[in-house]
Symmetry: C2
Subunit: 144 residues, 2 copies
């Protein structure tokens, strides 16, 4: 479905978005522990998220990563596009190079519905949408 990098990216954004409510930067170590994910790998992903403008970073003591007000409005679709491209939305599930109404694969029609649901979920979810539930530990970003 999503690449490992993309999954970590989404989870990291949810986590940092929630932590950012208090206005403080969160360090890589806290983030990788909060996601139960390899620290150096996460570091690389956070750099990409920063470069693409989804995160704000600060070096030095008290530094780390932050999701500012504007960045809280990032959708999951934007993150997925940045890491995995548009294949989740556009590509044929049986791998045809150009599967369309004119050249449909056997499951083309039925897969449309699945793609639509996925697309809807990704474009309608903001990284801020679960800040409260995550804070209240009703939702999780790792197995506890």
């Amino acid at each position: 479905m999503f690449s490992q990098s993309c999954k970590y990216a989404i989870r990291a954004m949810f986590l940092i978005a929630q932590k950012s409510v208090e206005g403080k930067y969160t360090g890589i170590k806290d983030i990788s522990e909060g996601l139960d994910a390899p620290q150096h790998f996460i570091a690389k992903i956070l750099q990409e998220l920063t470069k693409k403008g989804f995160l704000t970073s600060a070096k030095g003591p008290n530094g780390g990563f932050l999701v500012n007000q504007e960045q809280q409005k990032t959708t999951l679709l934007e993150i997925v596009y940045a890491f995995d491209g548009d294949k989740i939305i556009t590509s044929c599930c049986l791998g045809l190079k150009d599967c369309s109404e004119k050249n449909p694969c056997p499951v083309h029609e039925e897969y449309k519905g699945i793609r639509k649901k996925m697309s809807h979920m990704l474009s309608n979810t903001l990284v801020s949408d679960y800040n409260d539930e995550l804070g209240l530990r009703k939702l999780f970003l790792k197995v506890v």
Copy 2:
């Protein structure tokens, strides 16, 4: 979504199922051309499908692969399970090792619906379901 091997496997099963209506074996060369896929890679996949009982094979002149009456009833889900395991149905879309009602990720609830649709499509589609449309060139297994 599915691995490349799995996509080729499903397309190969659709193709051989349709060709098998005439009762003749179809050779690897015809199959790889019919799918626009690398011949040796397809060969390996067909061997796996044969070993797992989804296909019948015959060596020598007039040999090749065939989907018999019983094998025509194979579902896409069986093929997917054989190549990619059950992760498409069971695993968390954000990569949590154990995402469940007790430890749900932020998109757990919404993803359920997508998973259900996918599961329904895979378990309700037989490799024989599109024999007619494929024969009439209303559906395709490669870009024409």
